[in-house]
Symmetry: C2
Subunit: 160 residues, 2 copies
DNA sequence: GCGCGTTTGTTATAATATTACACCTCGCGC
DNA sequence: GCGCGAGGTGTAATATTATAACAAACGCGC
């Protein structure tokens, strides 16, 4: 987490077994979709899974190789692919990326984002129908909804 | 509008009299808040009002002076100020800024954004209470909600 | 006029993201 | 097996978005 909270530690990163399970699921998902889960894509996804919250593209770039950074297009291309597959979500208000929490890809999602420790929580957007009504009233056809709520998580609310 | 739609013209820019009214209202708002509406801030607000939709920071920078661009910090400072006063909203998914449509500042707002012509429509976020419930369930305290729905406006839906 | 906090000017640089083009790799038709 | 074409990758350069740091000027209360 780039915006680490100094007051305490959070341990939201995935356990190793969960991570390899997620990687395997991703391979299956791609195979079923007739897409190729290449090594760049898998490595990018792995780094996002390892992160304890939304991670910046350049943090992925820096960690990509043991011996040195990747070139930006390598990672940005992988990020686009993973986002299209629904395996990750882009957090617009942070310019960052987070692994999707669910097993149904792709889907719309809302996020709670802690301004102190950087942790994120994915949730189902409530009342999408009401947003659609606003859109219809303005003759809009919605393709994608971004919903991001910034604030403080329970742990961080304690220490101002 | 930077993402201009080639198929037709939109004319959403403010009429001159409306614009000067808005500028005057902004001066009043700042005076009442004990804040200074300086010339940089007013010029930045004017350019945002003149835009026919969300406008990028660097488009403001380029148009700032008749004879040449402003320096970035000048405009970014003004944008921060205007956003804090609630006179403009930042559109996260576009890295752009749009004048607030209402007369009560500041306030949360949702946006419908046309991917074709770039036009935006501001609307009241429906069922904020339901989002708050999701937050409470996760022990989050929300400070600010970003809601941006991307899609096609009525005019642009016609020409696929 | 003086002191003090705010605002601005200026330079430089950081952080985020894309374009362009050459090459490579894989699956498919033959 | 071979050639072809689509999709994927490597690489260099560049575009776009945003901030840091510090000095100078300004506005207000005294
Ligand atoms: Zn998800
Ligand atoms: Zn937190
Ligand atoms: Zn508004
Ligand atoms: Zn449109």
């Amino acid at each position: 987490m780039s915006n680490a909270c100094a007051h305490h530690d959070h341990h939201h990163a995935l356990a190793a077994d969960t991570k390899s399970q997620r990687l395997a699921e991703a391979e299956t998902l791609c195979a079923q979709a007739g897409e190729r889960m290449t090594s760049s894509r898998l490595r990018t996804y792995e780094l996002i899974l390892e992160a304890s919250g939304p991670i910046k593209a350049y943090d992925v770039i820096d960690r990509f190789h043991p011996q040195g950074a990747a070139k930006p297009p390598t990672v940005y291309r992988a990020l686009s692919f993973l986002e299209q597959m629904g395996l990750i979500h882009r957090i617009e208000s942070l310019n960052a990326f987070v692994a999707c929490d669910t097993r149904d890809h792709p889907h719309a999602a809302g996020f709670l984002l802690c301004d102190c420790c950087g942790q994120s929580v994915e949730f189902a957007i409530p009342n999408v129908a009401d947003i659609e009504v606003s859109a219809t009233n303005s003759h809009f056809q919605i393709k994608h909804i971004t919903l991001e709520a910034r604030g403080l998580c329970g742990a961080c609310r304690g220490h101002a």
